[in-house]
Protein backbone atom coordinates (compact mmCIF):
# COMPACT_ATOMS: atom_id res chain seq x y z
CA UNK A 1 0.00 0.00 0.00
CA UNK A 2 1.38 3.37 -0.94
CA UNK A 3 0.34 6.85 -2.02
CA UNK A 4 0.63 6.05 -5.72
CA UNK A 5 -1.72 3.05 -5.44
CA UNK A 6 -4.32 5.06 -3.58
CA UNK A 7 -4.14 8.02 -5.99
CA UNK A 8 -4.31 5.63 -8.93
CA UNK A 9 -7.40 3.95 -7.44
CA UNK A 10 -8.99 7.39 -7.03
CA UNK A 11 -8.12 8.64 -10.54
CA UNK A 12 -9.23 5.41 -12.20
CA UNK A 13 -12.79 6.00 -11.06
CA UNK A 14 -13.11 8.98 -13.39
CA UNK A 15 -11.10 8.03 -16.46
CA UNK A 16 -12.98 10.27 -18.89
CA UNK A 17 -12.91 13.36 -16.71
CA UNK A 18 -9.21 13.04 -16.04
CA UNK A 19 -8.34 12.13 -19.63
CA UNK A 20 -10.02 15.32 -20.75
CA UNK A 21 -8.28 17.56 -18.23
CA UNK A 22 -4.88 15.96 -18.76
CA UNK A 23 -5.31 16.30 -22.52
CA UNK A 24 -6.24 19.98 -22.18
CA UNK A 25 -3.13 20.53 -20.08
CA UNK A 26 -1.03 18.57 -22.58
CA UNK A 27 -2.31 20.69 -25.48
CA UNK A 28 -1.49 23.94 -23.68
CA UNK A 29 1.98 22.65 -22.85
CA UNK A 30 2.40 21.38 -26.42
CA UNK A 31 1.60 24.77 -27.96
CA UNK A 32 4.08 26.55 -25.68
CA UNK A 33 6.75 23.90 -26.22
CA UNK A 34 6.39 24.00 -30.00
CA UNK A 35 6.49 27.80 -30.14
CA UNK A 36 9.54 27.90 -27.87
CA UNK A 37 11.39 25.21 -29.85
CA UNK A 38 10.66 26.79 -33.23
CA UNK A 39 11.51 30.29 -32.02
CA UNK A 40 14.82 29.13 -30.58
CA UNK A 41 15.59 27.12 -33.69
CA UNK A 42 14.79 30.12 -35.86
CA UNK A 43 16.80 32.51 -33.68
CA UNK A 44 19.78 30.14 -33.70
CA UNK A 45 19.51 29.86 -37.45
CA UNK A 46 19.38 33.64 -37.81
CA UNK A 47 22.36 34.04 -35.51
CA UNK A 48 24.37 31.50 -37.46
CA UNK A 49 23.43 33.13 -40.77
CA UNK A 50 24.25 36.60 -39.47
CA UNK A 51 27.74 35.28 -38.72
CA UNK A 52 29.11 38.55 -37.47
CA UNK A 53 27.93 40.57 -40.46
CA UNK A 54 27.45 44.11 -39.15
CA UNK A 55 26.40 45.92 -42.31
CA UNK A 56 25.23 45.03 -45.79
CA UNK A 57 25.75 47.46 -48.62
CA UNK A 58 23.68 47.04 -51.76
CA UNK A 59 21.45 48.74 -54.29
CA UNK A 60 18.70 51.05 -53.09
CA UNK A 61 15.39 49.43 -52.21
CA UNK A 62 13.86 47.78 -49.18
CA UNK A 63 16.55 47.34 -46.53
CA UNK A 64 14.81 44.19 -45.28
CA UNK A 65 14.86 42.80 -48.82
CA UNK A 66 18.57 43.55 -49.06
CA UNK A 67 19.24 41.64 -45.83
CA UNK A 68 16.95 38.74 -46.73
CA UNK A 69 18.48 38.35 -50.19
CA UNK A 70 22.14 38.78 -49.37
CA UNK A 71 22.40 37.29 -45.86
CA UNK A 72 19.62 34.71 -45.77
CA UNK A 73 19.22 34.14 -49.52
CA UNK A 74 15.44 34.03 -49.31
CA UNK A 75 14.36 37.04 -51.37
CA UNK A 76 15.27 38.65 -54.70
CA UNK A 77 18.22 41.08 -54.61
CA UNK A 78 17.49 44.81 -54.76
CA UNK A 79 19.83 45.27 -57.69
CA UNK A 80 23.55 45.71 -58.20
CA UNK A 81 26.15 48.24 -57.16
CA UNK A 82 29.34 49.17 -59.04
CA UNK A 83 32.38 47.11 -58.10
CA UNK A 84 34.33 50.34 -57.68
CA UNK A 85 32.00 51.40 -54.85
CA UNK A 86 32.51 48.07 -53.13
CA UNK A 87 36.25 48.31 -53.52
CA UNK A 88 36.33 51.82 -52.04
CA UNK A 89 34.26 50.75 -49.04
CA UNK A 90 36.35 47.61 -48.53
CA UNK A 91 39.43 49.76 -48.13
CA UNK A 92 37.78 51.94 -45.47
CA UNK A 93 39.77 51.95 -42.25
CA UNK A 94 36.66 51.02 -40.21
CA UNK A 95 36.20 47.77 -42.13
CA UNK A 96 37.73 44.62 -40.72
CA UNK A 97 36.31 42.29 -43.33
CA UNK A 98 34.32 42.91 -46.52
CA UNK A 99 32.91 40.04 -48.54
CA UNK A 100 31.46 40.71 -51.99
CA UNK A 101 28.41 38.79 -53.22
CA UNK A 102 27.20 38.50 -56.80
CA UNK A 103 23.82 36.84 -57.14
CA UNK A 104 21.60 36.18 -60.11
CA UNK A 105 21.78 32.51 -61.08
CA UNK A 106 20.81 29.30 -59.39
CA UNK A 107 21.04 25.52 -59.77
CA UNK A 108 18.00 23.44 -58.89
CA UNK A 109 16.75 26.19 -56.57
CA UNK A 110 20.17 26.66 -54.86
CA UNK A 111 21.80 30.03 -55.46
CA UNK A 112 25.12 30.57 -57.20
CA UNK A 113 27.07 33.09 -55.15
CA UNK A 114 29.94 34.89 -56.80
CA UNK A 115 32.31 35.79 -53.99
CA UNK A 116 35.70 35.09 -52.48
CA UNK A 117 36.72 32.23 -50.17
CA UNK A 118 36.33 34.80 -47.37
CA UNK A 119 32.59 34.11 -47.55
CA UNK A 120 33.22 30.58 -46.27
CA UNK A 121 35.32 32.05 -43.43
CA UNK A 122 32.25 33.96 -42.23
CA UNK A 123 30.58 30.63 -41.49
CA UNK A 124 33.76 28.76 -40.61
CA UNK A 125 32.90 26.36 -43.40
CA UNK A 126 35.91 24.23 -44.25
CA UNK A 127 36.26 21.99 -47.26
CA UNK A 128 34.98 18.44 -46.82
CA UNK A 129 36.55 17.30 -50.10
CA UNK A 130 38.35 18.94 -53.01
CA UNK A 131 39.98 22.35 -53.14
CA UNK A 132 39.16 26.00 -53.61
CA UNK A 133 38.85 27.50 -57.07
CA UNK A 134 41.88 28.86 -58.87
CA UNK A 135 40.04 30.38 -61.81
CA UNK A 136 36.59 31.23 -63.12
CA UNK A 137 33.85 28.63 -63.77
CA UNK A 138 34.94 26.48 -60.83
CA UNK A 139 32.55 26.00 -57.95
CA UNK A 140 32.71 24.96 -54.31
CA UNK A 141 29.33 23.53 -53.25
CA UNK A 142 27.61 23.82 -49.85
CA UNK A 143 26.95 20.56 -48.04
CA UNK A 144 23.16 20.52 -48.40
CA UNK A 145 23.17 21.55 -52.07
CA UNK A 146 25.82 18.93 -52.90
CA UNK A 147 23.83 16.21 -51.15
CA UNK A 148 20.54 17.21 -52.76
CA UNK A 149 21.95 17.41 -56.30
CA UNK A 150 24.44 14.53 -55.87
CA UNK A 151 27.46 16.62 -56.84
CA UNK A 152 31.09 15.76 -56.15
CA UNK A 153 34.39 17.27 -57.32
CA UNK A 154 34.82 16.70 -61.07
CA UNK A 155 31.08 16.96 -61.83
CA UNK A 156 29.86 19.76 -64.06
CA UNK A 157 26.62 21.72 -63.96
CA UNK A 158 24.96 24.61 -65.77
CA UNK A 159 23.62 27.67 -64.01
CA UNK A 160 20.04 28.73 -64.60
CA UNK A 161 19.15 32.36 -64.92
CA UNK A 162 17.21 33.74 -62.00
CA UNK A 163 16.86 32.54 -58.45
CA UNK A 164 13.94 30.15 -58.85
CA UNK A 165 13.96 26.75 -60.50
CA UNK A 166 13.37 26.50 -64.23
CA UNK A 167 15.26 29.57 -65.38
CA UNK A 168 16.91 29.71 -68.79
CA UNK A 169 20.12 27.63 -68.62
CA UNK A 170 23.44 29.25 -69.40
CA UNK A 171 24.37 26.21 -71.45
CA UNK A 172 27.44 27.82 -72.98
CA UNK A 173 29.14 28.37 -69.65
CA UNK A 174 29.15 25.19 -67.53
CA UNK A 175 30.72 25.09 -64.09
CA UNK A 176 33.01 22.41 -62.74
CA UNK A 177 32.71 21.35 -59.09
CA UNK A 178 36.14 21.52 -57.44
CA UNK A 179 35.17 21.21 -53.78
CA UNK A 180 32.37 20.45 -51.32
CA UNK A 181 32.01 22.22 -47.96
CA UNK A 182 31.43 20.66 -44.57
CA UNK A 183 27.92 21.22 -43.20
CA UNK A 184 27.53 24.24 -40.91
CA UNK A 185 23.78 24.46 -40.30
CA UNK A 186 23.89 27.93 -41.84
CA UNK A 187 22.82 29.43 -45.14
CA UNK A 188 26.14 28.57 -46.82
CA UNK A 189 25.09 24.89 -46.87
CA UNK A 190 22.63 25.80 -49.64
CA UNK A 191 25.01 27.88 -51.75
CA UNK A 192 27.17 27.28 -54.82
CA UNK A 193 30.27 29.41 -54.28
CA UNK A 194 32.30 30.56 -57.20
CA UNK A 195 34.66 33.37 -58.08
CA UNK A 196 32.97 36.71 -58.78
CA UNK A 197 34.50 36.70 -62.26
CA UNK A 198 32.52 33.54 -63.08
CA UNK A 199 29.25 35.43 -62.65
CA UNK A 200 30.48 38.28 -64.80
CA UNK A 201 31.64 35.83 -67.42
CA UNK A 202 28.29 34.02 -67.54
CA UNK A 203 26.46 37.29 -67.95
CA UNK A 204 28.76 38.84 -70.51
CA UNK A 205 26.41 37.34 -73.13
CA UNK A 206 29.11 36.56 -75.57
CA UNK A 207 28.76 33.26 -77.31
CA UNK A 208 32.49 32.70 -77.25
CA UNK A 209 32.51 33.11 -73.47
CA UNK A 210 34.90 36.05 -73.55
CA UNK A 211 34.28 38.80 -71.03
CA UNK A 212 33.18 42.07 -72.55
CA UNK A 213 35.74 44.54 -71.23
CA UNK A 214 33.29 47.39 -71.74
CA UNK A 215 30.62 45.95 -69.44
CA UNK A 216 30.75 47.71 -66.05
CA UNK A 217 31.77 45.38 -63.25
CA UNK A 218 29.04 45.08 -60.65
CA UNK A 219 28.34 43.07 -57.53
CA UNK A 220 25.05 42.53 -55.69
CA UNK A 221 26.07 43.28 -52.12
CA UNK A 222 29.00 43.75 -49.81
CA UNK A 223 28.94 42.07 -46.38
CA UNK A 224 30.89 44.17 -43.89
CA UNK A 225 32.24 43.40 -40.43
CA UNK A 226 33.39 46.45 -38.48
CA UNK A 227 36.85 46.82 -37.08
CA UNK A 228 35.48 48.68 -34.05
CA UNK A 229 32.13 49.96 -32.77
CA UNK A 230 33.06 53.29 -34.36
CA UNK A 231 32.27 51.63 -37.68
CA UNK A 232 28.61 51.53 -36.71
CA UNK A 233 28.67 55.31 -36.44
CA UNK A 234 30.69 56.14 -39.53
CA UNK A 235 30.16 53.51 -42.20
CA UNK A 236 26.36 53.68 -42.69
CA UNK A 237 26.74 57.42 -43.30
CA UNK A 238 29.61 56.96 -45.70
CA UNK A 239 27.62 54.41 -47.66
CA UNK A 240 24.44 56.46 -47.64
CA UNK A 241 26.30 59.34 -49.25
CA UNK A 242 26.98 57.25 -52.35
CA UNK A 243 24.24 57.62 -54.99
CA UNK A 244 21.97 54.57 -55.59
CA UNK A 245 23.57 52.69 -52.68
CA UNK A 246 22.05 51.79 -49.32
CA UNK A 247 23.50 50.26 -46.18
CA UNK A 248 21.35 48.08 -43.97
CA UNK A 249 22.11 46.59 -40.55
CA UNK A 250 21.08 42.93 -40.32
CA UNK A 251 20.56 43.27 -36.57
CA UNK A 252 18.16 46.18 -37.00
CA UNK A 253 16.25 44.58 -39.86
CA UNK A 254 15.97 41.21 -38.11
CA UNK A 255 14.73 42.94 -34.98
CA UNK A 256 12.08 44.58 -37.14
CA UNK A 257 11.15 41.30 -38.77
CA UNK A 258 11.03 39.51 -35.41
CA UNK A 259 8.71 42.20 -34.11
CA UNK A 260 6.41 41.69 -37.07
CA UNK A 261 6.43 37.88 -36.82
CA UNK A 262 6.57 38.03 -33.04
CA UNK A 263 2.99 39.24 -32.93
CA UNK A 264 1.93 35.93 -34.47
CA UNK A 265 4.07 34.03 -31.97
CA UNK A 266 2.51 35.97 -29.14
CA UNK A 267 -0.99 35.11 -30.34
CA UNK A 268 -0.14 31.39 -30.53
CA UNK A 269 1.69 31.41 -27.20
CA UNK A 270 -1.25 33.32 -25.70
CA UNK A 271 -3.55 30.60 -26.99
CA UNK A 272 -1.33 28.04 -25.25
CA UNK A 273 -1.46 30.00 -22.01
CA UNK A 274 -5.26 30.23 -22.18
CA UNK A 275 -5.40 26.45 -22.67
CA UNK A 276 -3.13 26.01 -19.66
CA UNK A 277 -5.24 28.32 -17.51
CA UNK A 278 -8.41 26.51 -18.58
CA UNK A 279 -6.91 23.14 -17.79
CA UNK A 280 -5.84 24.41 -14.37
CA UNK A 281 -9.43 25.50 -13.81
CA UNK A 282 -10.52 22.05 -14.98
CA UNK A 283 -8.13 20.45 -12.49
CA UNK A 284 -9.60 22.62 -9.76
CA UNK A 285 -13.19 21.68 -10.57
CA UNK A 286 -12.39 17.98 -10.96
CA UNK A 287 -10.38 17.84 -7.72
CA UNK A 288 -13.08 19.77 -5.93
CA UNK A 289 -15.81 17.32 -6.90
CA UNK A 290 -13.46 14.36 -6.35
CA UNK A 291 -12.74 15.45 -2.78
CA UNK A 292 -16.45 15.82 -2.12
CA UNK A 293 -17.16 12.38 -3.51
CA UNK A 294 -14.34 10.91 -1.46
CA UNK A 295 -15.36 12.46 1.84
CA UNK A 296 -16.05 9.10 3.44
CA UNK A 297 -12.79 7.56 2.28
CA UNK A 298 -10.81 10.56 3.44
CA UNK A 299 -12.65 10.36 6.77
CA UNK A 300 -11.80 6.65 6.95
CA UNK A 301 -8.11 7.52 6.57
CA UNK A 302 -8.48 9.98 9.45
CA UNK A 303 -10.18 7.28 11.53
CA UNK A 304 -7.29 4.93 10.74
CA UNK A 305 -4.87 7.48 12.15
CA UNK A 306 -3.96 9.73 9.20
CA UNK A 307 -3.40 13.39 10.00
CA UNK A 308 -5.16 16.21 8.13
CA UNK A 309 -1.95 17.19 6.34
CA UNK A 310 -1.73 13.69 4.90
CA UNK A 311 -5.12 14.19 3.23
CA UNK A 312 -3.93 17.52 1.80
CA UNK A 313 -0.85 15.68 0.56
CA UNK A 314 -2.96 13.06 -1.21
CA UNK A 315 -4.93 15.71 -3.12
CA UNK A 316 -1.73 17.59 -4.00
CA UNK A 317 -0.05 14.36 -5.09
CA UNK A 318 -3.00 13.55 -7.34
CA UNK A 319 -2.80 16.99 -8.98
CA UNK A 320 0.96 16.87 -9.40
CA UNK A 321 0.93 13.32 -10.81
CA UNK A 322 -1.71 14.27 -13.38
CA UNK A 323 0.07 17.56 -14.06
CA UNK A 324 3.32 15.69 -14.64
CA UNK A 325 1.56 13.27 -16.98
CA UNK A 326 -0.07 16.11 -18.94
CA UNK A 327 3.18 18.07 -18.97
CA UNK A 328 5.26 15.20 -20.31
CA UNK A 329 2.68 14.23 -22.92
CA UNK A 330 2.43 17.90 -23.91
CA UNK A 331 6.18 18.33 -24.27
CA UNK A 332 6.31 15.20 -26.41
CA UNK A 333 3.44 16.45 -28.57
CA UNK A 334 4.93 19.93 -28.82
CA UNK A 335 8.36 18.69 -29.85
CA UNK A 336 6.78 16.37 -32.40
CA UNK A 337 4.74 19.26 -33.82
CA UNK A 338 7.84 21.47 -33.92
CA UNK A 339 9.76 18.73 -35.73
CA UNK A 340 6.98 18.41 -38.31
CA UNK A 341 6.93 22.20 -38.77
CA UNK A 342 10.74 22.33 -39.10
CA UNK A 343 10.58 19.64 -41.75
CA UNK A 344 7.88 21.57 -43.62
CA UNK A 345 10.06 24.70 -43.50
CA UNK A 346 13.10 22.76 -44.67
CA UNK A 347 11.17 21.39 -47.66
CA UNK A 348 10.91 24.86 -49.14
CA UNK A 349 13.72 26.75 -47.46
CA UNK A 350 16.47 26.62 -44.89
CA UNK A 351 16.87 23.68 -42.55
CA UNK A 352 15.89 24.45 -38.99
CA UNK A 353 17.79 22.68 -36.26
CA UNK A 354 15.56 22.47 -33.16
CA UNK A 355 17.36 23.12 -29.89
CA UNK A 356 17.98 20.09 -27.66
CA UNK A 357 15.68 19.51 -24.68
CA UNK A 358 16.63 22.07 -22.12
CA UNK A 359 15.66 24.95 -19.93
CA UNK A 360 12.58 25.90 -21.97
CA UNK A 361 11.04 22.45 -21.51
CA UNK A 362 11.95 22.35 -17.83
CA UNK A 363 10.44 25.80 -17.32
CA UNK A 364 7.22 24.85 -19.14
CA UNK A 365 6.95 21.57 -17.21
CA UNK A 366 7.63 23.43 -13.96
CA UNK A 367 4.93 25.94 -14.84
CA UNK A 368 2.43 23.16 -15.57
CA UNK A 369 3.24 21.50 -12.23
CA UNK A 370 2.89 24.79 -10.38
CA UNK A 371 -0.51 25.37 -12.00
CA UNK A 372 -1.63 21.86 -11.05
CA UNK A 373 -0.49 22.41 -7.49
CA UNK A 374 -2.24 25.76 -7.42
CA UNK A 375 -5.44 24.06 -8.58
CA UNK A 376 -5.04 21.54 -5.74
CA UNK A 377 -4.75 24.19 -3.01
CA UNK A 378 -8.48 24.78 -2.53
CA UNK A 379 -9.60 21.15 -2.77
CA UNK A 380 -6.61 20.12 -0.63
CA UNK A 381 -7.66 22.57 2.04
CA UNK A 382 -11.17 21.11 2.00
CA UNK A 383 -9.68 17.66 2.53
CA UNK A 384 -7.50 19.07 5.29
CA UNK A 385 -10.45 20.59 7.10
CA UNK A 386 -12.77 17.65 6.54
CA UNK A 387 -14.75 16.76 9.65
CA UNK A 388 -14.45 12.96 9.84
CA UNK A 389 -17.46 12.66 12.15
CA UNK A 390 -19.83 14.32 9.69
CA UNK A 391 -18.53 12.08 6.91
CA UNK A 392 -18.62 8.83 8.89
CA UNK A 393 -22.00 9.12 10.58
Amino acid sequence: MNHAKLVYAFVRRKPLTWSFHVLALALGVAVLTAVAALNTGLANRFDRDLAGIDLVVGAKGSPLQLILSSVFQIDAPTGNIPLSVAQTLSRNIMVRRATPLSLGDSVGGYRIVGTTPAYADLYRAGLAVGRWWNGPMQAVVGAEAARALHLAPGDTFVGEHGLSQGGEPHAATPYTVVGVLKPTGAVIDRAFLTDSTSVWKVHAHHDDGEVDPAAPREITALLITYRSPMGAVMLPRTAAAIPDVQAASPAVEMARLTRLLGTGDDVIAGFGLVLLALSALGFFVALFSAVNQRRRELALLRALGAQPKALFGLVALEAVALGLLGGCVGIGLGRAAAAVAARAIAASGPTLVLPPFGLAEIAILGGALMLSLLAALGPGLIAYRLDPVAALK
Binding site: K5, R13, L301, R302, A303, L304, A310, V389, K393
Partner: protein, 221 residues
Protein backbone atom coordinates in the same frame (compact mmCIF):
# COMPACT_ATOMS: atom_id res chain seq x y z
CA UNK B 1 -0.26 12.34 32.49
CA UNK B 2 1.02 9.21 34.24
CA UNK B 3 2.17 6.29 32.11
CA UNK B 4 -0.57 3.65 31.84
CA UNK B 5 -0.04 0.78 34.23
CA UNK B 6 -0.61 -2.84 33.19
CA UNK B 7 -3.53 -3.09 35.62
CA UNK B 8 -5.28 -0.22 33.91
CA UNK B 9 -8.52 -1.29 32.19
CA UNK B 10 -8.39 -1.21 28.38
CA UNK B 11 -11.37 1.11 28.35
CA UNK B 12 -12.93 3.10 31.15
CA UNK B 13 -15.72 5.59 30.59
CA UNK B 14 -17.45 7.86 33.08
CA UNK B 15 -20.31 10.16 32.16
CA UNK B 16 -19.23 10.66 28.53
CA UNK B 17 -21.35 13.20 26.63
CA UNK B 18 -20.52 13.08 22.94
CA UNK B 19 -21.59 15.17 19.96
CA UNK B 20 -20.32 17.08 16.98
CA UNK B 21 -20.64 20.48 15.37
CA UNK B 22 -21.16 22.04 18.79
CA UNK B 23 -24.15 19.86 19.62
CA UNK B 24 -24.17 17.13 22.32
CA UNK B 25 -25.93 14.02 21.01
CA UNK B 26 -25.70 11.17 23.49
CA UNK B 27 -24.42 10.16 26.90
CA UNK B 28 -22.75 7.03 28.23
CA UNK B 29 -22.85 6.68 32.01
CA UNK B 30 -20.17 4.18 32.84
CA UNK B 31 -18.33 1.31 31.17
CA UNK B 32 -15.16 -0.57 32.00
CA UNK B 33 -13.47 -3.22 29.87
CA UNK B 34 -10.42 -5.25 30.82
CA UNK B 35 -7.95 -6.76 28.37
CA UNK B 36 -9.72 -9.40 26.27
CA UNK B 37 -13.08 -8.28 27.64
CA UNK B 38 -16.12 -7.52 25.51
CA UNK B 39 -18.92 -5.03 26.05
CA UNK B 40 -22.07 -3.84 24.32
CA UNK B 41 -23.16 -0.26 23.79
CA UNK B 42 -26.91 -0.62 23.45
CA UNK B 43 -29.43 1.75 21.93
CA UNK B 44 -31.98 2.08 19.19
CA UNK B 45 -31.04 3.41 15.75
CA UNK B 46 -30.34 7.11 15.77
CA UNK B 47 -29.68 7.19 19.51
CA UNK B 48 -26.10 8.32 19.02
CA UNK B 49 -24.15 5.06 19.28
CA UNK B 50 -21.88 5.94 16.38
CA UNK B 51 -21.21 9.38 17.81
CA UNK B 52 -20.22 7.84 21.14
CA UNK B 53 -17.88 5.38 19.42
CA UNK B 54 -16.30 8.24 17.43
CA UNK B 55 -15.88 10.21 20.64
CA UNK B 56 -14.12 7.25 22.28
CA UNK B 57 -11.85 7.22 19.21
CA UNK B 58 -11.18 10.93 19.71
CA UNK B 59 -12.89 11.94 16.48
CA UNK B 60 -16.20 13.29 17.81
CA UNK B 61 -16.20 15.87 20.55
CA UNK B 62 -16.50 14.86 24.19
CA UNK B 63 -18.48 17.60 25.91
CA UNK B 64 -18.25 16.09 29.35
CA UNK B 65 -17.03 13.02 31.17
CA UNK B 66 -13.90 10.99 30.85
CA UNK B 67 -12.64 8.36 28.43
CA UNK B 68 -9.44 6.47 29.02
CA UNK B 69 -8.11 3.98 26.54
CA UNK B 70 -5.34 1.95 28.15
CA UNK B 71 -5.08 4.74 30.71
CA UNK B 72 -4.69 7.51 28.13
CA UNK B 73 -7.17 10.35 27.88
CA UNK B 74 -7.30 10.76 24.11
CA UNK B 75 -9.33 13.99 24.30
CA UNK B 76 -6.44 15.59 26.21
CA UNK B 77 -3.89 14.82 23.52
CA UNK B 78 -2.93 17.45 20.93
CA UNK B 79 -4.61 16.68 17.57
CA UNK B 80 -1.62 15.15 15.79
CA UNK B 81 -0.82 12.89 18.75
CA UNK B 82 -4.48 11.93 19.03
CA UNK B 83 -4.40 10.84 15.36
CA UNK B 84 -1.29 8.78 15.99
CA UNK B 85 -2.71 7.27 19.18
CA UNK B 86 -5.92 6.34 17.38
CA UNK B 87 -4.03 4.68 14.53
CA UNK B 88 -1.86 2.61 16.89
CA UNK B 89 -4.25 1.77 19.68
CA UNK B 90 -7.72 1.42 18.17
CA UNK B 91 -9.27 -0.83 15.56
CA UNK B 92 -12.45 0.56 14.04
CA UNK B 93 -15.10 -1.43 12.22
CA UNK B 94 -17.76 0.76 10.61
CA UNK B 95 -21.32 -0.18 9.94
CA UNK B 96 -20.75 0.64 6.27
CA UNK B 97 -17.39 -1.20 6.44
CA UNK B 98 -15.71 1.51 4.34
CA UNK B 99 -13.56 -0.71 2.17
CA UNK B 100 -11.95 1.39 -0.57
CA UNK B 101 -13.00 0.18 -4.03
CA UNK B 102 -10.22 0.04 -6.57
CA UNK B 103 -7.83 -1.38 -4.00
CA UNK B 104 -7.31 -5.10 -3.40
CA UNK B 105 -8.53 -6.70 -0.17
CA UNK B 106 -4.94 -6.94 1.00
CA UNK B 107 -4.33 -3.25 0.27
CA UNK B 108 -7.48 -2.37 2.18
CA UNK B 109 -5.98 -4.15 5.18
CA UNK B 110 -2.66 -2.39 4.70
CA UNK B 111 -4.50 0.93 4.54
CA UNK B 112 -4.46 0.81 8.37
CA UNK B 113 -0.67 0.87 8.81
CA UNK B 114 -0.40 3.19 5.78
CA UNK B 115 -2.72 5.76 7.35
CA UNK B 116 -1.09 5.36 10.76
CA UNK B 117 2.37 5.78 9.25
CA UNK B 118 3.52 2.39 10.52
CA UNK B 119 5.45 -0.39 8.77
CA UNK B 120 3.20 -2.57 6.63
CA UNK B 121 3.36 -6.20 7.66
CA UNK B 122 2.09 -8.00 4.57
CA UNK B 123 2.68 -11.40 6.11
CA UNK B 124 0.43 -10.54 9.06
CA UNK B 125 -2.26 -9.13 6.79
CA UNK B 126 -2.22 -12.24 4.61
CA UNK B 127 -2.29 -14.45 7.71
CA UNK B 128 -5.34 -12.58 9.02
CA UNK B 129 -7.11 -12.93 5.68
CA UNK B 130 -6.27 -16.63 5.66
CA UNK B 131 -7.62 -17.04 9.19
CA UNK B 132 -10.88 -15.37 8.13
CA UNK B 133 -11.22 -17.52 5.00
CA UNK B 134 -10.32 -14.71 2.62
CA UNK B 135 -7.00 -16.05 1.34
CA UNK B 136 -8.46 -16.46 -2.16
CA UNK B 137 -9.76 -12.89 -2.16
CA UNK B 138 -6.52 -11.22 -0.98
CA UNK B 139 -5.69 -9.78 -4.38
CA UNK B 140 -9.23 -9.30 -5.63
CA UNK B 141 -10.57 -5.74 -5.80
CA UNK B 142 -12.52 -4.94 -2.64
CA UNK B 143 -15.67 -4.12 -4.60
CA UNK B 144 -15.91 -7.74 -5.80
CA UNK B 145 -16.29 -9.11 -2.26
CA UNK B 146 -19.66 -10.35 -1.05
CA UNK B 147 -21.21 -8.60 1.95
CA UNK B 148 -20.03 -11.37 4.27
CA UNK B 149 -16.50 -11.34 2.82
CA UNK B 150 -16.37 -7.55 3.08
CA UNK B 151 -17.47 -7.77 6.71
CA UNK B 152 -14.64 -10.18 7.50
CA UNK B 153 -12.16 -7.98 5.58
CA UNK B 154 -13.24 -5.01 7.70
CA UNK B 155 -12.70 -7.05 10.86
CA UNK B 156 -9.28 -8.10 9.59
CA UNK B 157 -8.35 -4.47 8.89
CA UNK B 158 -9.21 -3.54 12.46
CA UNK B 159 -6.90 -6.34 13.66
CA UNK B 160 -3.83 -5.62 11.53
CA UNK B 161 -2.06 -3.34 13.99
CA UNK B 162 -2.92 -5.47 17.06
CA UNK B 163 -5.05 -2.76 18.67
CA UNK B 164 -5.69 -2.49 22.39
CA UNK B 165 -9.35 -1.81 21.76
CA UNK B 166 -11.67 -2.72 18.91
CA UNK B 167 -14.73 -0.54 18.31
CA UNK B 168 -17.39 -2.15 16.12
CA UNK B 169 -20.46 -0.26 14.91
CA UNK B 170 -23.56 -2.41 14.25
CA UNK B 171 -21.52 -5.33 12.86
CA UNK B 172 -24.55 -7.66 12.79
CA UNK B 173 -27.27 -5.24 11.78
CA UNK B 174 -28.18 -6.67 8.40
CA UNK B 175 -27.22 -10.29 9.01
CA UNK B 176 -29.36 -13.37 9.41
CA UNK B 177 -29.08 -15.41 12.59
CA UNK B 178 -26.41 -17.74 11.30
CA UNK B 179 -24.22 -14.92 9.94
CA UNK B 180 -24.82 -12.95 13.12
CA UNK B 181 -23.45 -15.83 15.19
CA UNK B 182 -20.48 -16.24 12.84
CA UNK B 183 -19.54 -12.56 12.90
CA UNK B 184 -19.96 -12.11 16.64
CA UNK B 185 -17.96 -15.25 17.30
CA UNK B 186 -15.23 -13.99 14.97
CA UNK B 187 -15.11 -10.64 16.72
CA UNK B 188 -15.02 -12.10 20.23
CA UNK B 189 -12.41 -14.67 19.23
CA UNK B 190 -10.28 -12.12 17.41
CA UNK B 191 -10.33 -9.75 20.38
CA UNK B 192 -9.60 -12.52 22.87
CA UNK B 193 -6.70 -13.85 20.80
CA UNK B 194 -4.92 -10.50 20.75
CA UNK B 195 -5.98 -9.53 24.25
CA UNK B 196 -7.86 -6.54 22.91
CA UNK B 197 -10.95 -5.04 24.45
CA UNK B 198 -14.04 -5.19 22.24
CA UNK B 199 -16.86 -2.68 22.33
CA UNK B 200 -19.80 -3.32 20.02
CA UNK B 201 -22.38 -0.62 19.45
CA UNK B 202 -25.62 -2.35 18.52
CA UNK B 203 -29.38 -2.51 18.75
CA UNK B 204 -29.26 -6.21 17.95
CA UNK B 205 -30.99 -8.14 20.76
CA UNK B 206 -29.30 -11.37 19.63
CA UNK B 207 -25.95 -10.14 20.92
CA UNK B 208 -27.24 -9.46 24.43
CA UNK B 209 -27.24 -13.16 25.18
CA UNK B 210 -23.59 -13.52 24.33
CA UNK B 211 -21.98 -10.49 25.94
CA UNK B 212 -22.66 -9.68 29.54
CA UNK B 213 -21.09 -6.30 29.94
CA UNK B 214 -23.69 -3.88 28.67
CA UNK B 215 -24.19 -0.13 28.80
CA UNK B 216 -27.16 1.78 27.42
CA UNK B 217 -26.93 4.96 25.36
CA UNK B 218 -28.65 7.72 27.28
CA UNK B 219 -30.28 10.76 25.78
CA UNK B 220 -28.67 14.09 26.59
CA UNK B 221 -30.64 15.88 29.24
Amino acid sequence: MSPPSPDEPVLSIHGLVAGYAGKPVARLGALNLGAGGAGLLLGPSGAGKTTLLLAIAGLAKAFAGQVRVGGTDIAALPPSRADRFRGRTLGLIFQDLHLVPGLSTLDNLLLAPFAAGLPQDRARALQLLDGLGLAAQAFAPAETLSRGQAQRAAIARAMVLRPKLILADEPTASLDDEACTTVSTLLIKAAAETGAGLLIATHDQRLRARIETQAPVEPVA
